[in-house]
């Protein structure tokens, strides 16, 4: 299994290397060339069952590729397509349409109109919507529904562009009397609800945070070896070496947490919420240290928009907030300890017992 993941990582490495942005100028464009390769190789739907039109493989496969995509600051909605939209569609018996997909959860006014549905609503922060042909929307309710929204050239749909702090598209989708065919609205499949959405989204961003953090570590190690002051490389100064070691510690924690959470999610659903929550809390909290040390050791150069470092650190700043920042998850984990009863904290820390409800 590990060998297989190694092969996958090498293949992903080859695909994403060289696709990084050159600088930290916000760039909400889609890397269409990269998406084409992802599409052709099937990476775009990794982890989505073949029966549903995906490429097969596991979530761990998708996560391995996503970690590397994030390390190369790829400008594609790979996670949204494979891990969120693909998961919801396949799990609810809907076919997966071509092209990059947006995914969101939110309230929508849905009304039946004969054979079809009419939708009204306002969905903020939909990642990459402007570049996607469709968005998969989870409408949470006692009986959650899944809606496949066409985003382009359809009357009743408007996509208002907006971005997160990294400049990635986080658009608002406005529906004003959009007519949907009956087949586009389905009961959400088993296990697909608001809680599951939040956990899976948190897992996705945790993996991406770990990837972006690795970018910062590599860049900072490289920079401190190349940059000379006082007649020697910055990396010759012990205080710099120790800052790099602290940085490496946080990055390693993020990476191990992300990978362990993926494994827990795949093998132990009952305790996955604690694993994912702990991992997202770690990744969100460590993002600050990683960005701060990375910037400090890059000096003014890293603060300039012409340098690529900012593309990684602004992603850390953006992703740490999405699907619950550390404060949100700390609260949920604290509540889980409370319900787990005496000794519960240690049982949860070792992957036993109890639920954590958002």
């Amino acid at each position: 299994m590990t060998d297989h993941l190694d092969d996958l990582r090498s293949a992903a490495e080859a695909m994403f290397a060289g696709r990084e942005p050159h600088d930290a100028v916000p760039d909400p464009e889609l890397d269409t060339l990269l998406w084409k390769s992802l599409d052709e190789t099937g990476f775009s739907l990794l982890g989505v069952p073949e029966e549903a039109g995906g490429s097969g493989g596991t979530l761990a496969d998708a996560a391995a590729v996503l970690e590397i995509a994030a390390a190369h600051l790829a400008r594609v909605p790979l996670g949204e397509t494979a891990v969120l939209a693909g998961w919801m569609l396949a799990g609810s018996g809907l076919a997966v349409p071509d092209g990059p997909l947006a995914a969101a959860a939110g309230d929508l006014a849905l009304r039946r109109d004969g054979e079809s549905w009419v939708a009204h609503g306002w969905l903020p922060d939909v990642p990459w919507a402007r570049h996607c042909g469709h968005a998969v929307l989870l409408v949470p309710a006692t009986e959650p529904r899944l809606v496949l929204l066409p985003l382009r050239g359809t009357p009743g749909v408007a996509v208002h562009p907006d971005t997160n702090v990294a400049g990635e598209p986080r658009d608002t989708v406005e529906l004003t009397g959009l007519t949907l065919p009956a087949a586009a609205v389905r009961p959400a499949g088993p296990g697909i609800d608001q809680d599951a959405w939040e956990i899976r989204g948190a897992l996705l961003r945790t993996v991406q945070l770990a990837g972006a953090a690795q970018h910062v570590l590599s860049a900072t190690v490289r920079h401190t070896r190349e940059r000379e002051q006082f007649g020697r490389s910055l990396s010759r100064f012990q205080v710099v070496q120790h800052q790099l070691a602290v940085l490496a510690g946080e990055v390693s924690a993020m990476q191990v947490a992300a990978r362990a959470a993926v494994l827990a999610y795949e093998t132990a659903r009952a305790t996955a919420a604690v694993a994912v929550g702990a991992a997202k809390a770690t990744a969100s909290a460590s993002a600050h240290t990683v960005a701060a040390i990375g910037h400090q050791l890059h000096g003014a150069l890293g603060f300039s928009e012409e340098h690529r470092l900012g593309a990684a650190t602004t992603r850390l700043w953006a992703w740490r907030e999405e699907f619950g920042n550390e404060d949100v998850w700390h609260e949920r984990l604290g509540a889980a300890v409370a319900t787990a009863g005496p000794g519960g904290l240690w049982r949860l820390a070792t992957g036993r017992a109890a639920e954590v409800g958002p």
């Binding site: 570590l217 401190t224 990055v251 390693s252 770690t282 984990l333 604290g334 409370a338």
Partner: protein, 393 residues
């Protein structure tokens, strides 16, 4: 490790996720049940940092009776032939419960593996069965007055004499030497030719031994955990040498890699954290305290996953040195974080004479906290180890 300019931006510290073998679950259940029984009959009182400071030879022998001391030692040498990951499970449950495991900790954690790897047949038969019976405790004699972080500066000399070795020198901070049946020494046998790491060797000295004096050194908690060990022309038999003459540095370094990443590097204050979280719920926790419980759980979960990943890698015969050093740095800071968080949210003075409950655990955790980031190598030294692996030294 390829965090260099070339190569893959995505692969830095790559470490596969750790995982426990299937039989770990039932083993864990057995240990949990044993500990519950022990607590019920008053077999022990949970302590913070119990692996260093709570020695109870009778408890050790009860554990040994269950097969939980010298677990990884092969049956041939009186052990139980279990995997290092099974030992990991037993160790973490004992540590989290604050069970008094200090008596055998060093023997079980590092001397049994070390003797197994380096010892002669005679040494293996002599020490390993006794360790597994919970009847042979060890101390470590590495540090000296002038050799702390700079361990290669040790001055203790071992001179070859007819039939053995004559050893003179002073060892400091030897934890548990006053209870131990043997101590492992790092001493200079030969000149430091070419490198100051050359010419060092390891010896096993049975205690008590003529010419060896063990004197207590009290710590800030007022207790006697560690010692000064003075060797005054002590004559050791030739078979006291452990491993290869002159290879002491490499041997000790390998030992430290195992020593640094174990669950004890993050769990010294887990008994306090668990007791505090339980007490909060009994007294009706406020939202701020709950969030802090959640924060510490997230950190504990993460650092444990790192420790488990290292343990899994070690069990597979790999040597993830960077991550091992990182576990100690992150883990030991987490231990201190627990103490500081509980103290801050508790908002009450900690009395020296605290008799029970969270306050007693907090007192012990607080008074021991300086040790967390020192023992096993100061965290600064570990950061230099990490930097070395990042290719910046």
């Amino acid at each position: 490790m390829t965090v260099t300019g070339r190569g893959r931006a995505g692969t830095t510290l790559d470490l596969p996720v750790g995982s426990l073998p299937p039989q770990a679950q039932s083993l864990r259940d057995e240990v949990v049940a044993f500990l519950a029984d022990e607590l019920r009959i008053g077999g022990f009182t949970p302590r913070c940092d119990a692996w260093m400071s709570a020695a109870d030879p009778a408890f050790t022998r009860r554990l040994a009776g269950r097969g939980w001391v010298g677990m990884t030692v092969p049956g041939l040498y009186g052990g139980h032939g279990r995997s290092p990951l099974e030992r990991f499970v037993v160790a973490e449950e004992l540590l989290a419960a604050g069970a008094p495991v200090a008596a055998h900790w060093i023997a079980d954690r590092q001397m049994a593996p070390s003797i197994l790897r380096l010892g002669t047949e005679e040494q293996k038969h002599r020490y390993l069965p006794a360790i597994a019976r919970g009847e042979c405790f060890f101390a470590i004699g590495m540090s000296e007055p002038d050799a702390g972080s700079d361990l290669a500066a040790v001055r203790t000399r071992a001179r070859e004499v007819p039939g053995g070795w004559e050893v003179t020198g002073t060892k400091l901070w030897s934890t548990g030497a006053h209870l131990a049946h043997a101590i492992v020494l790092l001493a200079r046998t030969d000149p430091a030719e070419g490198s100051r790491h050359a010419g060092l060797s390891q010896f096993v000295v049975d205690l008590p031994w003529p010419g060896v004096t063990v004197r207590p050194i009290r710590t800030v908690d007022g207790e006697h955990h560690f010692n000064e060990v003075v060797l005054d022309a002590a004559v050791l038999p030739s078979d006291a040498l452990l491993g290869t003459r002159g290879a002491g540095w490499e041997q000790v370094t390998a030992e430290l890699a195992h020593e640094r990443s174990g669950p004890e590097r993050l769990l010294s204050t887990m008994p306090l954290l668990v007791a505090w979280a339980d007490a909060l719920e009994k007294d009706g926790a406020g939202p701020a305290a709950r969030r802090e419980v959640g924060r510490l759980l997230a950190r504990a979960w993460t650092v444990r996953q790192m420790s488990l990943a290292v343990a899994t890698a070690l069990a597979d015969g790999r040597s993830p040195a960077v991550t091992a050093a990182l576990v100690k740095d992150l883990g030991s800071r987490f231990e201190g974080d627990v103490v500081e968080t509980v103290r801050r949210l508790r908002r009450a003075p900690v009395r020296r004479g605290a008799a029970d409950g969270v306050e007693r655990l907090l007192r012990d955790g607080l008074l021991h906290s300086p040790a967390f980031t020192l023992r096993g190598g100061a965290n600064e030294i570990l950061r230099s180890v990490v930097a070395g692996h990042l290719g910046v030294r």
